[in-house]
Amino acid sequence: MNRIAGRAAITVLLTLLLIAGFSFFVAEYVTKANDWVLFTGSPHIYNGTNIGTGTVIDREGVMLLDMEGERTYGESAAVRKSTLHWLGDRYGYISAPALSHYSAQLAGYDIVNGVYSYGQNTGVAKLSISAQVQTTALEALDGRKGTVAVYNYETGEILCAVTSPTYDPDNVPDIENDQSGAYDGVYVNRFTQSVFIPGSIFKIVTLAAALETVDDIQQQSFYCDGVYTIGADKITCEAAHGNQDLQQAFRNSCNTAFAQVALQVGAEKMEKYVEQFGVTKSVSFDGITTAEGNYEAVDAADANIAWSGIGQYNDQINPCAFLTFLGAIAKEGKGVEPHIVSQIFVGLSETYEADTVSGKRIMSAATAETVAEFMRSNVEYKYGDDNFPGLTVCAKTGTGEVGGDNKPNAMLAGFVTDPEYPLAFVVFVENGGYGASVCLPIASRVLEACKNVI
């Protein structure tokens, strides 16, 4: 019997094998459960390829989307259309990276409680956008392609970011067979995923670079007779502006003057400051990484350097990145990063709250102040303050030539300096025509709407 009793150790061996194997699993569980629960296809969180748990509301609590089951979108078609690109569609054509990014918080996941929440509450994501402003902006775009965005440069909250064209997810049009071109690029969120030729709004960048690098730039006088000739190339202006100082040239959006300014700054410094201002870099927030812009001047001919300084040549910018740049100017050279997801609740517990993330200083406070002052004079003396009743707005319009027979892109970039309305904004209208006349009414309506929700 002694021998048999000793041999019973083989059972102990099996026991140890079980304990070792299970410990291995527990170790895997501790380190990987987070990935498992968030893996696409995880039944508690996903519904097909889109996140399938929780609801999304706007900054005022308007229901935008219930992600459970077949996905229920907001009540009105206007809200559904204007918010679609942040919420994603039912079939995976439009993804919603900002929501997927917070799937753990939406599901209320943690390693101790799993996705349990009392009474099976699902998460509620509160976005910083306002459904009301979104619909106003989409209405103002009036079917034209483009994007309108407003963000609070003190807190980083995006109040409005619409993209057009869009469609009603509850009444999907026949996009595939559409010949009119009305739905070209309909799945793209133009605010984050597209780049535009900036045109004159790029003069803000050139101005700031000049203020940082050329000491006497404000003392110089620039003469414009309508055409500026560099070698064989001609840079033309809308009119002969005559003698003007820098501020007047900026207000006139004088190509001749800014061609000279860009050449004075020089290709290398232009590139350096474009980089430093973050104008062409992607912005990352809430799991979104925006499209990268483009700027090249080094190794280019002088004429091209001049063109690049006035937002043509190979210049490309992303609206979101440019909006962030504007925010930094408004906030004395050091802005905050934008975000769209403000808060997430599961039941009574808050699982996420957005922080205001400060960016790096991109220019001196003095430069930022001067740029702001110049932009302010544009509105004061050129565009007219009556466009923005009750607001002190600094802005710059732009008309980006796109070539061919197409109408130019119309653009407007600016910000409000009133402390109670710390808003920066961009308006991009593809093939809209002349910047000021197209974009000013849009910005006017959208900022007015923002006043009510901030």
């Binding site: 019997m1 002694n2 021998r3 048999i4 009793a5 000793g6 041999r7 019973a8 150790a9 083989i10 059972t11 102990v12 099996l14 026991t15 094998l17 079980l18 304990i19 194997g21 299970f22 291995f24 699993f25 527990v26 895997e28 569980y29 990987k32 459960a33 987070n34 498992w36 629960v37 893996f39 696409t40 296809g41 995880s42 039944p43 508690h44 969180i45 599901a107 996941y109 943690d110 390693i111 101790v112 409680n113 799993g114 996705v115 349990y116 009392y118 009474g119 099976q120």
Partner: protein, 574 residues
């Protein structure tokens, strides 16, 4: 009755959430307390050697005899060591019987055994008989009846009746709370069957306890643990396949009957030895019948369908196999015995290979290894066996692409989450979603995953009850195994020790293959988790195995599988 169900469903909104929130923590707490109370006596009883007789040598030396089966020999691990050149390494076996009589058996020794100057192979010893082993003369002096009674008093008493009642009460509270949750969230048409399922288990555990009290047995720990595991199995069925709750309840009843039947046959060693032959015929018979009349389901021909019943006879063969593997020491020491066992095992494996039932074959093979080692103690034999299996396995994989696919996706399930890894990735996602305390009974997604109540049962448990509960359930099997090993040291007959160690090992192997297979630590083999997985044959098998573990419990008044005498005496027949 239907009115009560209706009103319970009405309470859903108001109380279900509260109940779930409470039960998430209360359930593992009750379970942990219950298991602690049950396992503490099993893992801490004293194991001092009991002296049953003295062997008096002619020079006046008295050797204590501490077991019922004792190997006499020169080998230093013999129970009675006589280090003399004329004595064989294992010379003979001295066996004590239920009635207190002793027998000596020659185990193919070179010198033989003489009793009263006559060469014997087997001899029932009378007092005054002079035994001669390798020229050394000795007499056997059994302890007196009075000493035996004293020994019985000294032996660790099994728990009191009160402890048993407390434990069962605790388990009943757990069952009531669990049942209450399901009454609030189970589909209307299945409510009655789920309700009866839980009540049925509770009724059975109380009836069994009552029966034990009547026959003066006080140890109910092993049974309580089994009933607890059955309750968890019922909780899985209530959420995954609620309409099958009654079927499972019947299976538990049949399992309980099997438990009592095997326990009864193990009570008397002579009867048990006779039962072996019956078991041998039944074991192979089940497999042959399946081969002849069985149906192929999910790639393995291991189902026998008779009218509304579907059986997996290979599960029942497992219990028979334990019977066949167990053997008393006097037979164990003879080579012929091992050879016939190997021949039998080869026949069983042949049947399983033809049935294409990979998981069961693996369990049988592990059981074979355990039995072979317990019997022979030879690591070399095991090495040969494992090598042989390796070759056979390679050949089998070549032939069966179905099995090969499973191996191909092992540790690669996340690379094909919609294909080969579908079942396991969903299971892991659900397990992770459950966290440590689960989402609450009936609240999971696992019910939509194939085999959520059988092969993938650990996923359902973890999702709805939490990882802590899974750890507790695995602890149940681990602790039962440790108890078996501890008991082995004071085992009376190698028949019980081999039986219980093999039974515990089979349970362990099943848990290893089931739990670790589900979570992709091992390849998925489709084996059931004892007591928990949905399936009648598996349930009957689990209870059958438990009977062997119970029979190894030698504590006083512990096991109905160990005979009791009047006045607390341990042995003498009434």
């Amino acid at each position: 009755m239907p009115e009560i169900f209706d009103s319970l469903q009405g309470l859903q909104g108001a109380y279900l959430n509260v109940l779930i929130a409470v039960m998430r923590f209360l359930a593992p707490a009750i379970a942990a307390l219950l298991l602690f109370r049950c396992f503490r006596p099993l893992l801490s009883f004293r194991r001092e050697p009991e002296i049953w007789a003295w062997l008096c040598l002619s020079d006046g030396t008295k050797l204590p005899i501490t077991h019922w089966e004792n190997v006499i020999g020169r080998h230093k691990k013999s129970d009675i060591v006589i280090d003399f050149p004329t004595v064989s390494r294992s010379h003979g076996v001295l066996t004590r019987y239920d009635d207190g009589s002793w027998t000596i058996t020659d185990t193919d020794s070179s010198g033989g055994i003489m009793v009263n100057g006559k060469k014997v192979r087997i001899w029932a010893l009378q007092p005054e008989d002079v035994i001669s082993i390798g020229g050394i003369e000795m007499t056997l002096q059994p302890i007196s009846r009075r000493q035996e009674q004293k020994l019985a008093q000294l032996r660790t008493k099994a728990s009191t009746v009160g402890t048993g009642i407390c434990n069962v009460l605790l388990l009943t509270i757990f069952q009531i709370l669990t049942c209450l949750i399901f009454m609030m969230c189970a589909p209307q048409e299945a409510m009655k069957s789920v309700f009866l399922g839980f009540c049925g288990i509770a009724a059975m555990q109380w009836l069994l306890l009552l029966f034990y009290i009547c026959i003066r047995r006080t140890s109910f720990e092993v049974e309580t643990i089994a009933f607890f595991m059955c309750t968890m199995g019922m909780a899985v069925i209530a959420t995954v396949t609620p309409t099958e709750a009654m079927k499972q309840l019947i299976a538990i009843a049949m399992g309980l009957f099997t438990f009592l039947l095997i326990g009864w046959s193990l009570r008397n060693l002579e009867r048990a030895k006779k039962m072996r032959y019956l078991a041998a015929v039944a074991g192979i018979g089940f497999l042959v019948i399946t081969l002849l009349f069985g149906q192929e389901i999910y790639g393995a021909k291991n189902w026998l369908i008779i009218g509304p019943l579907s059986l997996q006879p290979s599960e029942l063969s497992k219990v028979c196999f334990v019977f066949i593997g167990a053997s008393t020491m006097d037979r164990l020491m003879k080579k012929r015995n091992l050879i016939s066992f190997i021949v039998y095992s080869v026949m069983v494996c042949g049947c399983l290979a033809l049935m294409n039932d990979f998981g069961t074959a693996l369990i049988f093979f592990c059981a074979f290894l355990v039995i072979a080692y317990l019997r022979s103690g030879s690591v070399g034999t095991l090495g040969l066996a494992v090598t042989a299996l390796g070759f056979a396995g390679v050949v089998a994989l070549k032939i069966a692409p179905h099995a090969l696919r499973r191996f191909a996706s092992w540790r690669h399930i996340w690379e094909d989450p919609l294909g080969a890894g579908y079942q396991q990735t969903r299971t892991l996602m659900c397990m992770a979603s459950g966290g440590l305390f689960g989402l609450g009974a009936g609240q999971g997604y696992m019910k939509n995953v194939f085999a959520a109540d059988s092969d993938m049962v650990v996923g359902t448990i973890t999702e709805e009850w939490g990882l802590v509960m899974l750890v507790l359930l695995i602890f149940c099997v681990v602790a039962l195994a440790f108890f078996t090993v501890r008991s082995a040291a004071v085992g009376r007959s190698s028949f019980y020790t081999i039986g219980s160690c093999t039974a515990a090992s089979i349970m362990l192997v099943q848990v290893i293959l089931n739990a670790l297979g589900t979570v992709d630590v091992l390849p998925l083999t489709g084996v059931t988790f004892p007591f928990i997985s949905n399936g009648g044959s598996s349930m009957i098998c689990s209870w059958g195995l438990l009977a062997f573990i119970k029979a190894a419990d030698t504590r006083q008044n512990a096991s109905f599988a160990v005979r009791l005498t009047k006045k607390g005496g341990a042995v003498a027949d009434e």
